[in-house]
Symmetry: C2
Subunit: 230 residues, 2 copies
């Protein structure tokens, strides 16, 4: 760790040159962007960065990843807190698809294809390192309205599925949905969420063909994993 005490002048020079060659050749011409673009660039970088380092990641580090001064971040976002809020919005609200509800309520589809269509679309927008990490981080950090908003929204979809399952079982649709019925629906959803956790967070091997995986999982969910024989 200690620097050598004696170096020849030439060495010193060449070392300095090498060093300066590594930091200078980027004369780092100051790039001027229209505010909207710059804001977007920062927000996108922050999303990636927070996903990786958590919401109290070092802002100076974020700035240097963006090749921008740390002061600039505060020109576009009043405080770290505001920046984090924006990241939430971008990540969650920005990805919510309004047609999910329609797929699930579509009367012309049977329950198998309905669930397969929905979860294929759901996974397409959500099977992403950034999304799953931000989702878990925001849940753990708590105190954020956005994650609660999502919980409620997903809860709404789960309710629809519960009703569709009743319909498929030709049960009475009127009574209130029981806790155990809801747990049944969450079973399917849990499977897909934990698939994302294993894939993007624990990085264990998983089935990579989403089409096959979704089909098989929905089938299993509805029909059971035991071959009913005879």
């Amino acid at each position: 760790m200690a620097a050598p005490e004696q170096i020849s002048t030439e060495n010193q020079n060449s070392l300095r040159d090498a060093a300066s060659k590594k930091q200078e050749p980027k004369p780092k011409r100051r790039m001027r962007l229209p505010p909207y673009e710059r804001e977007n660039m920062i927000l996108e970088g922050a999303t990636r960065f927070f996903a990786k380092h958590g919401f109290n990641g070092n802002l100076r580090e974020l700035a240097s990843e963006l090749n921008v001064s740390q002061a600039l971040i505060f020109k576009y976002f009043d405080s770290r807190e505001r920046l984090v809020e924006k990241v939430y919005e971008r990540t969650f609200l920005g990805r919510w698809r309004l047609d999910w509800e329609q797929i699930l309520s579509n009367e012309t589809l049977d329950i198998y294809t309905k669930l397969k269509k929905f979860y294929l679309s759901y996974l397409e927008t959500v099977d992403d390192y950034i999304w799953i990490r931000i989702a878990l981080l925001s849940g753990l950090t708590g105190n954020n309205l956005t994650s609660q908003y999502i919980v409620r929204n997903v809860g709404g979809l789960m309710n629809i599925i519960a009703l569709e399952i009743r319909r498929a079982n030709s049960q009475d649709l009127d009574g209130p949905i029981t806790t155990l019925e809801m747990e049944g629906v969450w079973m399917l959803h849990s499977t897909f969420i934990y698939y994302l956790i294993r894939k993007h967070i624990y990085k264990t091997p998983v089935e990579m063909d989403l089409g096959i995986y979704v089909n098989k999982t929905v089938d299993r969910f509805l029909s059971g994993t035991l071959h009913k024989e005879a």
Copy 2:
């Protein structure tokens, strides 16, 4: 909810007394504990604390929760990093039950009761605010061997279950287990893990009777959620 606006002087005094009694009458006599006990106390407090505030929670705050100086923490743990490691060990390794593997391999039980027995025991040791939060936090922070160790261990159990399902389906036990077979097994496990996430992290309403919940979930997993009629 609102406090009464008028209180007699006596009341005010007694209130003030009560308040001061709460912070002053602790002349904070210095408590001396045998090292083993103190270490345990700090470790337990740190586990609770990190579970709540994440692994870069403020150590001064932790110290004050323990009614102990911040310097003392460093007498028992060289650095924050070491402390976090110990928290991992305590939380994960300390809870692993060796008999889980035996329950699952037990030849005298049918697959239904096997899975029910196992997951009841599993949830009993793992259905806990602290456990699920530390588990997710450690996964997100990455770079920890312990969480990978657990992933491997759980993976081992999943493998056993995969084999048991083959047996129940009277399939050939010899071929290698396919990715899709494994995904099937993860479906059940995912359900229980995400149950914990909903319960302890998102704090949404869930079925509270573990016995009923485990039974019903295993049944659904094996037999499907659709009533197969005629």
